[in-house]
Each structure stands twice: as C-alpha cells, then as structure tokens.
C-alpha cells in the first residue's frame, strides 16, 4: 500500500484514510453539533422546569374548599338580621348557630364551640345576605348553601397550613383542624373545581377565597378589542403606503428608522406617555380599558407595521408587474393581488402583536390599572371600555403583591389562564397561516 502510494504520481493520499486537516474539520463540525444539541437541551430543560413549576403552583388555585349546608332561614330571623347595624355579621352569626346546631344534632363534636366554626367559615355573611336579597322567595324554605371555607382551611387542604404553623395564629387554631377533619369525614367540607376563580371578580385583601380573574379577563378583552380595531387598520394602511406608494427619499428613510426604533422602546415609556397624553391631557378616565387599549395600540403598531411590510416585501414583484401590465392602477394591483398574498403574514404578525400586548404589564402600572380592585363587572358594552377595570397581567401583579399566601397561589393560577389565552392566540395564528397561505 505504502509502496503503491510512493510510486504513483497522485498528489492526494488514499481516499480511505482521512488526512489530519479533514480530521480537524470533522471534529469541529462534531463539536458544533454538540453545542447546538446542548443549547436546545438546555432550553427544553428550562421550559420543562418553568412549565412544571407553573402547573404545580398554579393548579391549586383552580380548586377550592367549600362547606355545604342545608338550612332554613325564617322570615323572623331574616327581619331580625336586617334590622341590626352590622347586617353581614348577623348573617354570619345565624349561619354559625345553625351549622353548630346541626353538627351537635348529627353527633359530630359535641364540644365544638361556635367561635371555632366562625374561624373555619370566615366571612360567610355577605354571601348569604346577597342571596336572600336577590331571592326573597327562599325565605322560610330549605336552601343548600355551598360557601367557601376560610382561606386558611383551604390552605390546610393545599398543604400551606398545618398544626405547627397555627401555633401562634388567632385566625385559626390547631384544634380547629380536628373539627375540619371531622366535617370532611361527614361530607360537609369538600373540595371542588373553583368556577368562581375563572368567572369571579377580584375581592379585598382579606378574602382571597372569593377572588377570581373573570373581571380582569373582561378588561383584557375590551383592551384587545381597542388594540385590534385601531392598530390593524392603521398599521396595515401605514405599511402599504410606506412599502408601495411612498417615494424612497430621506424622509421615508427617517420614518422607517424611527418605526424600527419605536418597536424597541421599553413599554413603560408608552405607559408614561399614555398617562400624560390620554389621562392628564385628554382627560380620559383612569384605569379604563380604553386608555389601556390606546397605550397598547401605540406599542403594537410598530410590530404590526414591521411584520406587514416584511410580508408585503415577500410578495414577488412579478405579481405587481403582471397586474400593472394588464392596466391595473397601483391601488388595484395592491388591493387585488399583493394584499391577499401578504394576508397570512399580516394576520400572523397582528396576532403575535396582540399576544404581546395581552401579556404587557408595565404600561398598565402607570395608567392605574394595577391599584384598582376589579370588584365589579362592567355594566354594559360601552361601559366595558370606560369603567375602571383591571387586566389579566395587572391582576396577576396585584395578587402577587398581596401579603396573603393564598393570593400568591391565585397569581400562579392567573398566569396559567393568561398562558392558555396566549396559546389559543398562537394556535389561531398558525391555523390562519395554513388556511390562507397560497403558493405562487
């Protein structure tokens, strides 16, 4: 073999042996692939860690601990409760007395004190009162109440609270947990899926069990409506003008550079702009989804303009030539041929811009959507825009900032809801893209 190589006039070695240079090149390629796989692996690892921690912390927010009780409030008891100064306290008292009586009747814990029941139940009076205010016919009839237990009892079932942590607590004492166990055995205390979390409104700092994300979902919905209605037409019209009609000169260059820069401006800057212009100057209401939507529109516009221009650029010029060649005007060429071909890209860009806006918190801090406790649903469609409300990310921020651990759990639950909405929007983007994509 060696002899043959030495004798032959060929300049390269045998193909079956790799020379050192090739070996080095192959090694470099193998290293590069390994780096790539490692990077992807690391990314996936963090994704899994993030997803599991969100699910672990957030899923408990979707269940709640409830006390179910059949009871009968007579007209006399109702009148007595309504005549007092502290009406909800009177209802709470009524409930506790009736529950205590039933317990003793059933033979569970003869020694259970009414104040223990009060600690377990929390403030049930207001729920009861509003029920009887809305359904006066039910007075004197047997009604099954399913009411939230106090957040500490809920925490006991979710592992946040145990007998050791309750040593110094005055809200719930260790012996109360024995009562809770007994009530659970009797089927009076149960855990169930908390629809109230998805549909409910925010509650005060002392009532985490009653807090829901529903009102802020509505707030986000109205904000996104404003963003969509304003930013899509403005953004698409601006990009069509810039891409297809505007002369290419110094001014359009300046505008182009500024739009790209605008996309990189921190969102809090848009927030303070919104505060100054929309609230202080224009006098629009604070904390209103309308203002939030306007601010997020400013933020989303550059994203939509950039993606729309990119998809307009991607339409082959031969299509424009073809349309102009048969005598279409420039506008006909754009609207009949270029725009339909660019539509999938425009839609995708718009939905991604909306998804970004949906998750944006910083600008909402400045226009007052955070300090506000969204206790009420908007009264109607128009009110949905102008009445103070919160938005999903702002609600999550508010909950995370509250001291009660139960709210912390709600914040994680809110993040799951937000992520589900984002996933839905991205899925819509993919479906629309597939559906409208045409080949040329």
């Amino acid at each position: 073999m060696a002899d043959a190589t030495a004798n032959s006039p060929r300049r390269h070695g045998s193909l079956t042996t790799t020379d050192p240079r090739t070996k080095r090149r192959n090694a470099a390629e193998a290293r590069f692939r390994a780096y790539g796989i490692a990077a992807i692996g690391l990314g996936l690892f963090f994704l899994v860690v993030l997803a599991t921690s969100i699910i672990r912390s957030g899923v408990p927010a979707f269940t709640t601990t409830v006390v179910s009780l059949e009871m009968n409030v007579s007209q006399a008891e109702y009148d007595e409760a309504e005549s007092g100064m502290l009406k909800t306290a009177a209802y709470t008292k009524l409930f506790i007395t009736k529950l205590g009586a039933q317990l003793r009747e059933a033979g569970i814990g003869d020694d259970v004190q009414d104040d223990a029941i009060e600690r377990i139940m929390g403030k049930v009076g207001s729920d009861m009162r509003s029920f009887y205010q809305e359904n006066p016919d039910s007075i004197g009839e047997t009604v099954t109440f399913t009411l939230n237990a106090s957040s500490r009892v809920d925490g006991y079932f979710k592992g946040r609270v145990n007998r050791e942590t309750l040593v110094d607590s005055r809200f719930l004492v260790a012996t109360d947990l024995d009562v809770v166990d007994a009530l659970t055995e009797a089927g009076i205390i149960t855990r169930q899926f908390d629809w109230g979390f998805l549909t409910g409104k925010d509650a005060g700092v002392d009532n985490p069990g009653g807090a829901g994300i529903g009102a802020s979902v509505i707030g986000s919905f109205f904000m996104m409506l404003v963003v969509l209605v304003l930013s899509l037409p403005i953004g698409v019209a601006a990009s069509i003008y810039l891409e297809e009609f505007a002369p290419k000169n110094r001014w359009t260059d300046i505008i182009e550079v500024n739009i790209s820069n605008l996309a990189a401006v921190p969102s809090i800057v848009f927030g303070i702009l919104g505060l100054a212009v929309f609230i202080q100057f224009a006098g629009l209401p604070q904390s209103a989804p309308l203002v939030g939507g306007l601010v997020l529109t400013l933020m989303t516009l550059p994203t939509i303009i950039i993606s729309t221009r990119a998809s307009l650029k991607a339409v082959p010029p031969s299509i424009r030539d073809a349309a102009l060649g048969v005598g279409a005007s420039k506008m006909q060429a754009v609207f009949h041929h270029v725009l339909p071909l660019a539509a999938p890209g425009i839609l995708t860009g718009t939905i991604i811009g909306l998804a970004q806006a949906l998750g944006e918190t910083a600008p909402l801090l400045l226009i007052g959507m955070v300090g506000f406790v969204a206790r009420e649903y908007p009264g109607g469609f128009i009110e949905g825009f102008v009445e103070p409300n919160s938005a999903m990310p702002a609600q999550i921020y508010t909950w995370a900032a509250r001291s009660d651990v139960a709210f912390y759990e709600k914040a994680w639950g809110g993040i799951i809801v937000l992520l589900v909405f984002l996933l839905i929007m991205n899925a819509i983007a993919i479906v629309l893209r597939r559906r409208f994509e045409r080949r040329w």
Partner: protein, 265 residues
C-alpha cells in the same frame, strides 16, 4: 417631455404605430438609453436584439411606461403612440397599459384560477357587461393564446398549476384579453423549453395579424424566425434598425456584424 410646444402630429404612414424620437433614459446617473429614434409598424413583429445590459428591455418598458414604477428612472424625448406622446402629462399610464399589453420574461400568472387570470383585465376595464360577455372574452382570449384546448375543461384550476409553457401562453391570453393594440414581450421564451418556445413563437406569428408585436430576445435565431423588423441595441445606442433579413445577412454597421457573428456580446 419637458417640451410643451404643440406636438407635431405628422405620421409618415398609417402603418407607424409607435414612434420614438430622441428618447433618453437615465437610471440615477447612468445613461441607459442614448438618443434612440425608432419607428414600430402596425401588424408587424419587431425584435430588439443585443447583448445583456444594452438597454433593449429598458426601452421596451418605456413603451408602456412600466419604468414609472422605478423611482430613479427618468425619461426624456418623446414616444408617440398613434401620434400621441405617451409621456404627456395628460396621459394616464393605466389607460396606456390597457392599449399596450405586456408579457414578461418569467411567466407570472396570478395565483388565481385560469378563468380569473384572463378575466381580471376585462373586469377592471369594464369590457364585459355581464358574465356571459366575460365568458366570451375569456374563451376568445384563451383561443388567441393557443391554450384553449388544453385548459377548457379546467378553467377553475389555478393558473400557477400549469406547465411553464402553458403559463406563458396563459399570460399572453391575459394580455390580449384587454384588447390591446400593441403587445410587448420581454424575452417571453427565455424560461421555456424548446417545444414550448416553438408553440409561443408560432403564436407570436399568429398575433401579428391583429397586433403590433415588439419582442425582446437574446436568441438571434428567434429574432430571425419570428420578426419582420429587427433593432440592434449596443451600450444604450440603437445601432441599426431595418428589415430582419437585411440585418442578419447584410448588416451595415460593423458592430451589428460582429454581434451577429458572435464576436461581441
């Protein structure tokens, strides 16, 4: 173009369709077309030949003002279509392009059905009163494009699904559907195989009976086969213009001769 004197509306013969006088084209600082005078006859195929970058396509695109879409392009001199300057301020390029149709180098059907491809021009120009009229126009145009028999059963199929040669004939059908008077063709066969080229060339010869056809081509054989008049462009100058037979057998200019014999270009 800046000359606002009344136009001289003297046309030598009825036969002259397009007449360019002192036409200059600039791309920014580049002088792409230098002082071109040419007279294109009706019902004739005129071929523009010349090496790459000589300006023949640029000049062709001047004839229906497709160069208007290029910002840096500037045109001087005048181009008369039936005695009217197409660069006159009063002329709307959209109306001009309905009269002067164009077929491009790469087949570029719209990503729509075959029917809609052809019907688009008549629709935007309001040539058909109703669907039946439009059907007639579409069929007539596809017949003129020599593609009717191949597509009559699948008019709803996308135009982009046809073969390259069929696409180009569809584009020709689309161009003739607006009833133009002049048909400009920018290297219509350069993306086609020899069989499709043969079909398109045959079609061009048929179109001559109704239109004035101007074709830019890289292939001298093609120019010789399809055209009656040939113009040779070199470095932005119109070097020689005359009967095709005479250009290819007894060229007057030495540059034409060396291009035709393969020495330059």
């Amino acid at each position: 173009m800046n000359d606002m004197r009344p136009l001289e509306r003297i046309v030598d013969t009825d036969n002259i369709k397009i007449s360019a006088k002192g036409c200059q084209v600039y791309y920014g600082d580049t002088h792409a077309i230098k002082d071109v005078d040419v007279q294109i006859e009706d019902k004739t195929v005129t071929a523009f030949i010349g090496p790459s970058g000589c300006g023949k396509s640029t000049f062709l695109r001047c004839l229906n003002r497709m160069n208007d879409t290029i910002d840096i392009c500037r045109i001087e001199g005048e181009i008369l279509l039936d005695g009217e300057n197409i660069y006159d301020k009063k002329v709307d390029p959209v109306q001009l392009r309905a009269k002067v149709g164009m077929v491009f180098q790469k087949p570029n059907p719209f990503p729509k059905s075959i029917y809609d491809n052809v019907a688009y021009g008549p629709r935007i120009h309001g040539l058909a009163k109703n669907k039946a009229d439009l059907d007639v126009i579409v069929e007539k145009s596809l017949r003129r494009g020599a593609i009717w028999d191949e597509v009559k059963d699948r008019l709803d199929a996308p135009g982009t699904g046809l073969s390259g040669g069929q696409q180009q004939r569809l584009c020709i059908a689309r161009a003739v559907a607006t009833e133009p008077e002049v048909l400009l063709m920018d290297e219509p066969c350069s993306a086609l195989d020899p069989i499709a080229t043969g079909q398109v060339e045959e079609l061009i010869d048929e179109l001559r009976s109704q239109y004035s056809v101007v074709i830019v081509t890289h292939s001298m054989q093609q120019a010789a086969r399809v055209s009656q008049k040939t113009a040779f462009f070199h470095l932005g100058n119109l070097v020689e213009f005359g009967e095709t037979g005479q250009i290819f057998t007894k060229p007057e200019d030495p540059r034409t001769e060396s291009y035709i014999s393969g020495k330059i270009g």
